[in-house]
Each structure stands twice: as structure tokens, then as C-alpha cells.
Symmetry: C2
Subunit: 363 residues, 2 copies
């Protein structure tokens, strides 16, 4: 049985990467060790780290003043590290409240005595649309504006044309980094958990504009709380998660071989458009997001009946379509179409949904 | 060629665990997913997490008021989390400065405005012996006493009879947890990076006495800074490092099958005593630590000439004895004999060192 994993993350790895991991997990012929056993203080691992950093700088087309860090504790830890490191001047930030993972950083920053303004929110309509900055927004009143490029749970995205022009922009790109194009230089801080588009759970990417970091007063922070420690110590102030960084590097190589962001974007557009097109023409299923805000990586939809949706998702998993149930706060279905999701998965899912539709409509 | 990895960490995994990982890395027959791809919100992962917690409570013989957490950021992050969470009453702690990894937490706590007293230090003699609390030490003046049970770099250990009786004791057990017996109830907080005795780099174990944590004022902390968040959310407030916890659980099962701490302690004593016995009788090599403070997990020794030591370590790696060079702050050699290190590794190392000795003495 062919099976597909539509999980919002941790998600599938590219088949080529899985094959390579399986081959290399046994002892390496030169080092006589498995990648699981090598020290971070070896030329082998230092190469992996250097390659991963260089690939990211190149794929994201970032200049030398952007510094790449590999951190721990997921995006959730970044909800705290970002204000600690980058809201030291005005101690006031603005967050575009576009979904669950845009809302959480509000409480995190406030717990750290940073004032949070919410210049735009769609919370009252359950985040079915994206909020935007008001025309009269004064960015000089804030250390930075925080936004989530792709809302994993709600299936909405600030695509490149919707990214606001402000002095300092922080982006949580956990669910669409390297899946679609942005002018990454518009952001002064980017972070992303690896477990959606970059590899396995256990490593978080953060990239900061060093010039901006240099303006901050970090004297009140302990070493592990500071971005500067990770930059100065090449992400090895503590023992880094060697295997997770190794997998990340393999995924980056696979992205390069897939034509970089441009190549994957073309494929991701095809995948998402096929599915949205089907949903828009279906008389049984409906996409829950309309218009240009639709996410390419997380497609949410429903048959309009919560109980029936749950039954269908359950039955689909028996047919090999795993993890289609939507997040509990939204319900319905969510098909996550990250970079590693093959186009065939979408074709097969549409065929399956057509059958479901027929069954119910004939009932 | 048979090869051995004597690295101080990341270190070797038990052969049985490596085999099991290799077998299970390909797609599981029931879930049709690799362990690298499963979500943390699955019954499969929840079982792994529950098993790991139960094994630890049982192996360490800890009562129900001790809570097990799986955290990120290594022991180094604990140098900061411990004072943040557990030095909230007097904001004053005492650290037994027994080595490099006992010294680092001093600066970390001070950066967080916690006063640090050092009631005992052997820094001036390069940590060749262990410091102890003075007889008149008044533990009521401190939130807690912090000690490192095993000093990985310097090769010294507070064995169970040397653990002081104080009101609240915090132990960094990164390099000898589950390798020798302690009355673990004497500690109110234990932490350990996994990459020496517990698995791969990327996960840190912390165990806290909930009764003591309940006495703290944690209102100033953000969610990821609080132990209570990890306890309340079962270490899944953020997406946990699924694979690292999976490997940790396999290692714990292997420890149970190896007779638990008692079984491994017997083996670890045999390994270490063989090597120390050889060094004590050698006219060429000398152990750098004497007496009852000797570590079972990290044996440091020297031929008395730094340059020659480096040459010998280099040559040994060509013969399959990897990572024998001592830490740069100590020099000489360090043979790390963690739980997964087979007794044969020690036998073969001694035979090799005897040959080296003969070669040099015949020169």
C-alpha cells in the first residue's frame, strides 16, 4: 500500500534523504563510527556545520552581515529569545496576531516585561483571514514587528507581496521556509523549527542581522540566552544535536538539487493549486481560506460537519492517507504539503476525496 | 580492524541499541513511517515518552514527587535554568568548584543576579583533587549547593560516600548518571546531557523534587524558562526532539537488561580498575588522579611529556583507539569508559599501551 503522511510536523523527509541516512547510519568506513556517535569536535562534523551554514546563506541569498545559528528548544524558545535579545531599546514590540503561533509570542514577551501592541488581529474571526498593519502604523515606536509568514494551523500565508515595509521585521518561518520565495533581506531575524521543511525535530534555525544585534544592550543576559554566544561559538557553546544538524544538512543539499527555492516553489504551487482547484469545484468539500492568502504548505478544508470530517479523516488513514485531521482549534482537514511531499500524494488524495464525495452524495 | 571510541562525548551507543535503531529506521510496518517522521502527538511517541520516564524513576529509585523532564540546550542551559527556577528565595547559592563544568555555572548564575559562594575549590591545583565543604558550612544561607558528581575533563568523582548532607543539593550528573550507585533521593535536582551515558546529543534529562519547586516564586519567568511548564506539558510544550528521546528510551531498556545500575557498576568497576591497575604498575604512564576520587568513567593519564602524549594519541587512533587525547586544559590522555564501552576495549587498550611502553623504553 502506498501511504502518505500529511502531518503538520514532524513531517516526512525526502525519500532521497531517508535513503542516505539509512546508508550512512552504520559505521562510516573512514571514521569507523556511526554519525550518531561522532563528536561535534571532529572535522567531519565541522564540515557538516560549515556546509549547512553556507547552503542556507546561498539559498536565502543573504549577505555576510546575516549570521546563521542552530539552536534548541523549538520555535517556542524563540518566542522568548527574540524579545530578550532584540527588544532591549524601547522594550516594546508589535505582533501581527494572525494565528495560534502568532498569539503565543504575545504572552511570552509580556512575561519578560516587554510591552506588546497588537496593531492587527483576526482572532475574533478565528484567524480565517490575515490581519495587516494599519496605514498610519508608526514603526519607530517599536523595537520590531513580529509576524508569522505561514500560519500552520489556519492555512494562511503572508506571501512576498504582503510583507510589510518596516524598520525591523522578525519572521517566524517555521512552516514555509525554503518553500516559497521572499526577499529575505527584508527580515532582520528569521527563525524556523526544522521539523517541517528542514529535517527532524530537535533543531531550530535562527538567522539574525548582526548590525541590528550590535545595537542591543545584552548585559543582562546569561550566555545561553544570548544570540551572540551562538554566533561567537559557532552554535557549539553547548554540545549541539549532531544528528539533527546532519539531517538538516542533507535536506539542504536535496533542496539545492531540487532547484532551490525557485524549483520547490514551482512544485509547491502545482501541488497546492491542484488541491485548491479540486476543493473550489467540489460540492461536498470546501477550502476554509479563500483568496490570495491561501497557504501553499497547509491546505485546510471541511465538509461542513465536524463529526463527519473526523470520520472521513479516520477512514482516510486506513487507506494510507495519514494525519489529515485538522488542528483541534480549527477542525476539518489539513493537508500539509511541505517540500518533501510528492506531487503524487496530492493526485492520490484528490482521487480519494472524489470517491468519498461520491459515496456521501449517493447516500 | 576492531575500533574503539574513547571520546568523552558524544560517545558510542551500545551495539544492541545501534542494531535496533538501524532496523527500525526504515518505515515501521504498522505506522508506515520512519521514527524520524512520526509526530510527537502519536500513541507511538507517547508510549516511548512514558516508558522512558518510568524506566528512569525505577532505575534511580525515586518516589513520585520527583518529576522527570526532557529538555533541550544541553547541561549548559541547565547552568541557567537551575538558578532561575530554584534560587528564587535567597538568590544565593554555593558551588563546589571541582572542575571546568563546575566552574562554568558560577558565571552563568552571576549573570542572572544570583550570588555565588565557592565554599571549596581546587582550581589552583588544576582540579587534580576534589574540593569538599568545610566543617562549619551553613547550608541554610543558600538556596542550594551545586556539585558535579563526575568531572569529565579532570577524571575525578564524588562517589556516593562523598556526597555531602545539605538541605538542597543540585547535581550535574552528565558524565556518570546510571554508571554508578547513589542515593538519588539526596539530590533535589539532577540533570544530565544524554550524549555520554544516555544516548545521542540533543536531549537533556532533568529531574526535580516537585515539593521544593513548589516553594519557589516563578512569576518572573517566561514559559520555556520554567521547569513547571515542562512538567505540566509532559516535556511537549514545544515539539520535542522525537528521535533523541526514542534513542534515550532504547538505551534505558538496554540498561535495564544489563542489570540496571548495579549490573553496570560492577562492569564499570572492572573496566576502570583494570586500567588504573595497569597505569599504577607502569613505569611509563601515570594516572593523573590518585586515591578514592578516581573516576570510573573518565580515566586521565600521561607519559609525563605533552608532545609525546600527543604523538602517541595520534598513533593510537591509526591503530583503532579513537579520541584518546585529553582535554586541552589537562593534556595527556583520557579514556572514557561509559556504560556502552565494552570491557574488551579496556583489555585491548592495555595491551596496546604495553606495546607503546616497550617501544619507548627500548628506544
Amino acid at each position: 500500500m502506498t501511504t502518505y503522511n500529511f502531518s503538520a510536523g514532524p513531517s516526512s523527509l525526502p525519500t532521497e534523504v531517508m535513503t542516505q541516512i539509512t546508508q550512512e547510519l552504520t559505521k562510516n568506513q573512514a571514521t569507523h563510527m556511526s554519525i550518531l556517535e561522532i563528536s561535534h569536535r571532529t572535522p567531519q562534523f565541522e564540515n557538516i556545520l560549515d556546509e549547512a551554514k553556507a547552503s542556507l546563506k546561498s539559498l536565502l541569498d543573504l549577505p555576510d552581515n546575516y549570521k546563521v545559528m542552530f539552536l534548541s528548544g523549538g520555535g517556542t524558545t524563540q518566542f522568548e529569545m527574540v524579545p530578550m535579545n532584540l527588544a532591549t531599546r524601547l522594550k516594546k514590540i508589535a505582533i501581527l496576531d494572525s494565528g495560534n503561533f502568532a498569539h503565543k509570542p504575545i504572552g511570552a514577551a509580556e512575561a519578560l516585561n516587554v510591552t506588546v501592541d497588537v496593531p492587527g488581529t483576526t482572532r475574533s474571526i478565528k484567524y480565517r483571514e490575515l490581519p495587516h498593519l494599519p496605514a498610519q502604523f508608526d514603526d519607530t515606536q517599536y523595537d520590531y514587528v513580529h509576524l508569522v509568514t505561514n500560519n500552520t494551523i489556519e492555512g494562511t500565508t503572508y506571501h512576498q507581496e504582503d510583507i510589510p515595509d518596516v524598520q525591523h521585521l522578525v519572521a517566524d518561518m517555521s512552516s514555509n521556509i525554503l518553500a516559497e520565495p521572499y526577499d529575505f533581506k527584508k527580515f532582520d531575524l528569521i527563525f524556523a523549527g526544522a521539523q517541517k521543511n528542514l529535517g527532524i525535530a530537535g533543531i531550530t534555525l535562527a538567522i539574525v542581522n548582526q548590525d541590528w544585534l550590535d545595537e542591543q544592550d545584552l548585559s543582562h543576559l546569561a550566555p545561553m540566552q544570548k544570540y551572540q554566544t551562538a554566533i561567537d561559538k559557532d552554535s557549539m557553546y553547548n554540545t549541539p544535536p549532531v544528528f539533527a544538524i546532519y539531517v538538516l544538512n542533507l535536506v539542504l543539499k536535496w533542496i539545492e538539487q531540487s532547484g532551490g527555492i525557485a524549483g520547490l516553489y514551482e512544485k509547491n504551487q502545482r501541488k497546492a493549486h491542484k488541491l485548491y482547484d479540486y476543493l473550489d469545484h467540489s460540492s461536498f468539500f470546501d477550502a476554509m481560506v479563500t483568496g490570495k492568502e491561501r497557504s501553499l504548505t497547509n491546505v485546510v478544508f471541511t465538509s461542513g460537519d465536524a463529526k463527519r470530517d473526523a470520520q472521513i479523516a479516520q477512514k482516510a488513514s486506513q487507506a494510507g492517507f495519514y494525519n489529515l485531521a485538522g488542528h483541534r482549534s480549527v477542525g476539518g482537514f489539513r493537508a500539509s504539503l511541505y517540500n518533501a511531499q510528492p506531487e503524487q500524494a496530492v493526485d492520490d488524495l484528490i482521487a480519494y476525496l472524489k470517491n468519498v464525495e461520491m459515496e456521501y452524495l449517493n447516500d
